[in-house]
Amino acid sequence: MQLSTRHLLGIKDLTSTDISLILQTAEQFKEVLQRPVKKVPSLRDVVIVNLFFENSTRTRISFELAEKRLSADTISFTASSSSVSKGETLLDTVNNILSMEVDMVVMRHSASGAPHFLAKHIPAAIINAGDGINEHPTQGLLDALSIKEKIGKLEGTKIAIIGDIMHSRVAQSNIYLLKKMGAEVTVCGPPTLIPKYIAEALQVNVSYNLKETLEWCDVANVLRIQLERQNQVLFSSLREYNLAYGISRKLLDSLHKEIVIMHPGPINRGVELDSDVADSKQSIILQQVENGVAVRMAVLYLLSNRTN
């Protein structure tokens, strides 16, 4: 058994068997992370380069840690301190790095489709760590693992994705993955932040009412308001957004059941989530981060044997 693809460009290209295989392998890596020596020699002979053309804390640290726990050799690269600032093209940069015998590339880029472009032109296995507003597949996978752990299954589970659906690659990866695994998905947010034809295109429910959505769901995945991606004003102020779509303790207490709160980070405290919700027992935000390392180890492990 192995994955049906050579690269991880997006959840869109994976089958449900691939997803199950990654989650199942990630569970075994979670056990590895509990051992006194949290390291296995699986990727001893593999060189991985982390190309981060866009800022990142969690994802980059998580990937680097996953690579180290698998004993891979790693090179980390950030665009600001490299020749990219001198005007080198993406393909030239990557080809120069690859001529130094690199097996896998983990890449984040602000342009949607950048990893797909690279996959067509270079022989190394490519893992997308977030491209523009397209996909963030490892985030989708770690969210799925966290839901599976907390609820027990994905099939039939009701998941609400709340906030800026329009600019969110996390939302897109989550929707693809959850639909493939048979979960029910509702997207909720202000009409200006929800793509017009999303209900038809991705078979999700659309709601503009936060309270109704929370009443319906088992898990609420709350997205970050991405101010840096908004070229135009899509809601009048952060305070108004918080009043209409921010999740407060009071709102959660008024529901008839206890729901699970997730957030891909970094949190805008007081905007989409209030502090006493983010730090409450209902929130599994830190478990998501913990699962991130295991999921990324699984992806790297499963794609590594195709590198020859």
Binding site: M1, Q24, Q28, E31, V37, S42
Partner: protein, 201 residues
């Protein structure tokens, strides 16, 4: 008389068809009864050397070794009811030396106790090249530093070793050639208890 002969030829024909379909020849090494006796003996030998089970840890190797380790542990518990046996399961997938050749899917590892300064007995079904045990030793040392590690196998394919590894407890030693395969069948998984040799093409 004619009926008997017809029956004989029919049975022979069906048998040939069966072997043709499977493209290999089956030879039984241990029957269900012999297997039960052998497992009981292995359990007794382990008890003989480790009368005090407090400092001994039994670890079955995933995926096929856990069937024999399950049986040995239940035989020990039957002999000494009420004694707490430290029993874990170890998966060695991430430590394999052929990881780049083909992808293996990991199974569950479950060692819910410390192995520090304990005596560890690794249990597997077939010892062949010794490469699995090499990987298991590497994996085991990531859990701590045991005082001693021993190896218990149901079938020892001697003369096939590629690494300097020898078992301490052996169910049965057999001489086999590389093209042959040894399969240990278990009731829980394969429908019957038996050890067979398969001849490859």
């Amino acid at each position: 008389m004619i009926n008997q002969r017809e029956f004989f030829f029919k049975a022979l024909f069906e048998g040939l068809c069966y072997f043709y379909r499977n493209n290999q020849y089956l030879k039984s090494i241990l029957s269900e009864q012999q297997l039960a006796i052998t497992i009981k003996r292995l359990a007794h030998q382990i008890l003989e050397n480790n009368t005090d089970l407090v400092n001994t840890v039994l670890i079955g190797l995933q995926p096929r070794g856990i069937y024999i380790s399950d049986r040995i542990v239940s035989a020990i518990k039957k002999e000494f009811p009420g004694v707490a046996v430290h029993y874990g399961k170890l998966d060695i997938t991430f430590y394999r030396d052929d990881i780049r050749k083909s992808l293996h899917i990991a199974n569950q590892t479950d060692i819910p106790f410390s192995i520090e300064t304990k005596k560890v007995i690794l249990i597997d079904d077939v010892l062949y090249t010794g490469r699995t045990i090499r990987a298991a030793l590497d994996a085991l040392l990531d859990f701590g530093r045991p005082e001693k590690v021993e190896l218990c196998v149901l079938i020892d394919r001697r003369f096939s070793r590629q690494l300097p590894i020898q078992p301490d407890y052996v169910g049965k030693s057999i001489d086999s050639i590389i093209s042959q395969k040894v399969r240990v069948l278990w009731k829980d998984k394969d429908g019957k208890d038996e050890v067979v040799i398969l001849d490859g093409e």
